[in-house]
């Protein structure tokens, strides 16, 4: 077991805009291959994040066999993580139509 920590600047490793779910998946696949058991993910410089990215990040983090520590997490990223952790009721959010016309 290698308890020495590796630090990854996520804005450089992926982008300052964390948009696509698959990129979060790739990110964790790279982390899995790391020889260290502790990974520090530095969020400094992250400008934006989507829910899909945040969801994939949290999901993969739960299943990975390493300790992941976030640093310098901007408020807007922390808020998105919280949104994913405590999702709202989809029924209350949906703007679905009441009926369907033929066009």
């Amino acid at each position: 077991m290698n308890t020495q920590a590796d630090s990854i600047d996520i804005s450089k490793a992926i982008s300052a805009d964390l948009a696509l779910r698959s990129l979060a998946d790739d990110f964790f696949s790279k982390i899995e291959r790391s020889k260290t058991d502790v990974i520090i993910v530095d969020f400094k410089g992250v400008n934006s994040i989507t829910r899909s990215f945040a969801h994939e990040y949290i999901t993969r983090k739960k299943t990975i066999d390493k300790r992941i520590i976030e640093e310098n997490v901007p408020m807007h990223v922390e808020k998105m993580f919280n949104v994913v952790r405590s999702p709202g009721n989809k029924k209350d959010m949906s703007l679905a139509p009441a009926s369907y016309d033929i066009l």
């Binding site: 982008s15 805009d17 934006s48 969801h55 999702p87 066009l103």
Partner: protein, 263 residues
């Protein structure tokens, strides 16, 4: 609010009319058009590309319209310009980053388009849906600001398996209009209750946060929000071979609080 000139659904039906006439006479004729919006132009280009006829259409008589189409189809992005030319999304998602950055840059990082967080969220969620669900071979995006008219359009089209096709892959059988309805209600083809929020959030934010319009057309189904939500079952003549997601928002748009719409 909702006072924009011709609506997105009208723009899409304009495409259907041009395509249907074209199929009768064997060519896409844009000679008489007075102007063309992204939700008309992008489906035309996808239609021509799918038939290996990329540049094969009769150009508009009006020179400024012909020049505009030429610029959109062949131009490079010019900072400060009002058009984000048509761009093809690479099939390899890892190569999509630079295109997203170009869209953000065109919109000045979203500053006048509802703010950085909201704007990038919308573009990112639409793009992630295309890559995750559509299995496209061709996907296009373009954007156009209309500063004097006070709005901006962004349109995505792909020739993929449609929303119903994405559900079908996991054994969930829907008609096209039912599939759109399911997606709008948050059903995920990944069979995961924690997923399926991206589209709901986008529609909420575009409709209620921006006061804008959203059009989704996929196969023989359509959803249109312009003041209120409407759903459509499409005939063969208005069917779309793939999925179109288009949005029209006020431009400039004041800052939208993303987190009011994320649930």
């Amino acid at each position: 609010m909702h006072s924009f000139p011709p609506n997105l659904l009208g723009d899409y039906l304009h495409y259907c009319s041009i395509k249907n006439s074209g199929e009768k006479v064997g060519t896409i004729d844009l000679k008489e058009i007075g102007w063309i919006y992204p939700s008309t132009l992008l489906p035309i280009v996808l239609y021509l590309k799918s038939r290996n006829l990329k540049d094969f259409f009769i150009k508009p008589k009006k020179k400024f319209v012909a020049d505009y189409i030429d610029r959109v189809l062949n131009g490079n992005m010019v900072r400060g310009h009002s058009s984000f030319p048509m761009v093809t999304l690479p099939t390899d998602v890892k190569r999509s980053g630079s295109i997203l950055q170009d869209i953000y840059s065109f919109c000045d990082e979203g500053k006048e388009c509802g703010g950085t967080l909201a704007f990038k969220y919308i573009v990112g969620e639409i793009t992630t849906n295309i890559y995750e669900h559509s299995s496209f071979s061709t996907a296009l995006v373009m954007a156009q600001k209309y500063p004097t008219k006070g709005f901006m359009d962004i349109c995505f089209v792909d020739n993929g398996i449609t929303i119903a096709g994405s559900f079908k892959k996991v054994g969930m059988l829907f008609e096209d209009y039912e599939a759109i309805d399911a997606a709008i209600r948050g059903t995920s083809s990944k069979m995961n209750l924690e997923r399926g929020y991206g589209l709901i959030t986008n529609i909420n934010m575009l409709a209620q946060g921006y006061g804008g319009s959203v059009l989704i057309v996929s196969g023989c189904g359509a959803y249109f929000y312009h003041g209120n939500p409407k759903g459509y079952k499409l005939r063969e003549s208005t069917k779309f071979d793939g999925t179109l997601v288009s949005m029209r928002v006020p431009y400039p748009s004041k800052e939208v609080n993303l987190y009011e719409y994320t649930g």
